[in-house]
């Protein structure tokens, strides 16, 4: 008897398609439209480039997964993003699964340029679909594209779409489902005979190395010759084994002696030549429509003066939003956690378990989720600026200013966000292409005075300059300036020493402006939150629990603790640590009580105020607006009767708080974003050393001059 079909599980075939395209081709919108909510975001192994995969379609026989590749201008990779695209398409990604086909997304209104990458990819011989996106823009520009003819000339299916209106998505999906292996077609390049010969010789070696099909081997050989001038320090990771690299060098030497000095440029020009031939007759331009709206807008928005004014106003709104809109949300989160704490307090009898749950667990969760509002608001603005096309203009405007310290214009927004909170700032550094520039930006963002430093500034300034409003405001402004100068100075130094990168010259594409896609923006806010919670949340949480234990154990005598609210903290491990470091911090002008505050605020600097509240026996519900704590602090003396908080000692403490890295969340996110423990350790060490040194100089120079003692 035959086995009926329903009794055996039909083997579900899984196909993986990659989606590739230039930056600004609308690739992400197409990817989102094709996969909907079925997406997974992660990182490629070993690098910080995002890996996004989604389900394109699923039937009884077949499941098609779609992999979103980072945007790139060429298979000749110049950035980490481009390298990831190249490595996935060439099957060089370590641990990556092979790709069964490619959807190349191109901007239909700028076809000639976008076909450059598209034809490079088609050359590789995968079953490929060309997705002509932004067809609305093409029409507005008076372009008509004969897709039938284009399809015939390229030898791959062509589908027209308007991504943000979801037009053509169904057609694209069915083209992907029907995508079959088609006889490979390759763009015919007209090359000088010597180049042609070298390409063929290299192709043979490529075939020996990997056993690629002969056409793909030719495509790879062309890429090898086109990549000869790429500085591998920037790209990190080599395309080929050393023997093959030798063969490439030989080919280049051979060509040079034959009078062909720049084989890479010869290949680029040959490809553009071939694209021009392909393009003629496919695209018709209505000459009556020429000037685009973006051109007129750009005359204002990229103008040094008008554009600068618009940019400063936008940044002001964004900054105010992070500062003020986040507050009610953060208060809300704290209220919810406070309520949870109350419930636990009521349900569980007083003791270690209750304290662990309320102060350790709920407090730990609180110190993680309290950052979410600021992350949401910053990434709402960043998403809006990127999605409308404005971000490239902003980077252009800020380029000259940031160049003074050796950073690109794109570092500006991460640094500015640092005033609100280093965590979203560090995450926003992802938009910086050059790895070293991105790293320098990440390393200096924590020096910008974040909002968690403000309570400390206000408490200490209030204590040492009581009643002098003008001095207080001046001091506060001075602290913000100090942090900024330090950040820029350290960036300048790093760019000249450890993290030098050759100036390559600025080249930024200014994409056409378009209406924002709210779905994309909300999705990116959501993804940032998940990445933060997963990547940094666990570390922050663990450290919070450890710090709780240090302050809770050993337990003081309950009767004595009743009479003296500061006793428990003083005799806890944390209190003992504060007293242990007293000799180290005495040259800075700090007593052991400040030492306890420093240890307690190791993980989160804002804890300083409440810790001081406990140490001075005011209670831990104290805030920076509370006059009691400020008065107590101002009146405190050393055993010999000298005041502890002289203006100078207070200043030294402020300088320490401006510079020191007392934020475990920052370190956790640096670990997440750099994928290595090396950089968070480096950040902690350099900031602590710098803070100690600066506070020492402040106090010692100040006392020897007799200022404010």
């Amino acid at each position: 008897m035959f086995i009926s079909e329903s009794t055996i599980e039909p083997a579900v075939k899984i196909r993986r398609l990659a989606i590739a395209g230039n930056p600004n081709s609308g690739k992400t919108t197409i990817f989102n439209a094709l996969t909907g909510l079925h997406q997974k975001v992660g990182n490629y192994p070993g690098v910080t480039v995002e890996h996004r995969e989604g389900l394109l379609s699923s039937s009884a026989e077949e499941r098609i997964r779609l992999v979103d590749l980072p945007g790139a201008y060429s298979m000749v990779s110049r950035s980490l993003d481009e390298r990831v695209m190249r490595d996935v398409l060439l099957g060089l990604m370590t641990g990556g699964e092979p790709i069964d086909g490619v959807i190349v997304v191109v901007d239909g209104s700028n076809l000639e340029r976008h076909l450059y990458l598209a034809t490079q990819i088609i050359d590789l011989g995968y079953p490929t679909i060309l997705c002509l996106n932004m067809m609305d823009l093409a029409q507005r520009h008076g372009l008509t594209i004969d897709t039938g003819c284009l399809q015939q000339r390229l030898g791959v299916p062509v589908v027209e779409t308007v991504g943000f209106r979801q037009e053509g998505i169904a057609e694209l999906r069915s083209a992907a489902e029907q995508l079959k292996y088609s006889p490979a077609s390759m763009l015919k390049l007209t090359l000088p005979a010597e180049v042609e010969q070298q390409v063929n010789e290299l192709a043979e070696q490529v075939q020996n190395w990997r056993g690629d099909s002969s056409l793909r081997a030719v495509a790879i050989a062309r890429l090898l010759l086109a990549s000869v001038a790429v500085d591998s320090r920037e790209v990190e990771g080599h395309l080929i084994p050393l023997e093959l690299a030798g063969a490439v060098d030989q080919a280049v030497a051979h060509l040079t002696s034959a009078g062909i000095v720049a084989v890479d440029s010869v290949l680029v020009q040959a490809r553009y030549g071939a694209i021009r031939d392909l393009y003629t007759g496919v695209v018709q331009q209505d000459q009556s429509v020429r000037k685009s709206r973006s051109d007129r807008v750009d005359r204002v928005l990229t103008h040094p003066l008008w554009g600068g004014t618009v940019f400063v106003s936008l940044m002001f709104v964004m900054f105010m939003a992070i500062f003020s809109w986040a507050t009610p949300l953060m208060d809300g989160i704290e209220a919810v956690l406070g309520y949870a704490g109350e419930v636990v307090t009521r349900l569980i009898p007083e003791g270690t378990l209750q304290s662990l749950l309320v102060d350790g667990v709920i407090g730990g969760v609180g110190s993680v989720v309290v950052f979410l509002p600021q992350i949401w608001i910053l990434f709402f603005f960043v998403g809006l600026l990127e999605d409308t096309g404005y971000m490239a203009r902003a980077a252009l405007l800020m380029n000259r200013l940031m160049n003074l310290v050796g950073l690109p214009g794109k570092s500006f927004i991460p640094l500015l966000s640092g005033y609100a909170c280093a965590i979203p700032g560090i995450m926003a550094a992802r938009t910086i292409e050059n790895r070293r520039d991105r790293l320098v930006t990440i390393l200096v963002v924590p020096l910008m005075s974040c909002s968690a430093r403000l309570p400390v500034y206000l408490t200490v300034i209030g204590a040492i300059f009581a009643g002098q409003v003008w001095v207080q405001s001046g001091a506060l402004l001075g602290l913000y300036v100090l942090g900024t100068v330090m950040a820029l100075g350290v960036a300048w130094l790093l760019k000249r020493t450890m993290l030098q990168s050759p100036p390559t010259g600025l080249l930024i594409e200014l994409p056409p402006y378009h209406r924002p896609n709210w779905g994309t923006i909300i999705r990116s806010m959501w993804e940032r939150s998940v990445l933060f919670l997963k990547g940094a949340g666990s570390i922050i949480f663990a450290v919070s629990v450890v710090l709780w234990a240090l302050a809770y154990f050993p337990q003081a005598d309950p009767v004595a603790a009743e009479a003296d609210p500061g006793l428990q903290l003083r005799q806890s491990y944390m209190g003992r640590m504060g007293q242990a470091i007293a000799p180290v911090i005495e040259p800075l002008g700090y007593d052991w009580k400040i030492g306890v505050g420093l240890v307690a605020s190791f993980a989160a600097r804002e804890v300083f105020v409440s810790t001081m509240g406990i140490v001075y026996g005011v209670g831990d519900e104290v805030t920076e607006e509370d006059a009691t704590l400020r008065e107590k602090i101002a009146a405190d003396t050393w055993p010999d009767g000298r005041k502890v908080y002289t203006p100078l000692a207070g200043l030294s403490l402020l300088v320490f708080y401006v510079i020191a890295c007392q934020c475990v969340s920052t370190l956790a996110i640096i670990k997440r974003e750099t994928n290595s423990w090396r950089w968070p350790v480096f950040t902690f060490v350099y900031m602590t050393v710098l803070a100690y040194g600066a506070a020492l100089i402040t106090y010692q120079v100040g006392s020897s001059m007799g200022w404010g003692v």
Partner: protein, 77 residues
Amino acid sequence: MVGHQVHVLSGLSAGERGLVVQVQANGMAVRLREVGLCEGQELEVMIAGDPMVCRVGRSRFGIGRILAEAIAINLQG
């Protein structure tokens, strides 16, 4: 080249347009060509200065001085 003048891009002012005749940037020449800034392409200066904003074919680019000095333009009209 009668009636035409070759200029360095960085010296042009807003509104001037012409054809790219030479791209010589060390290390960046290939990338400039790959994004379409290659010989024979039409270019128009939209904002002069450093960086400058240029329309190249159907794309617009912000170009820093180092690169702008490495691009020669044959002015039209």
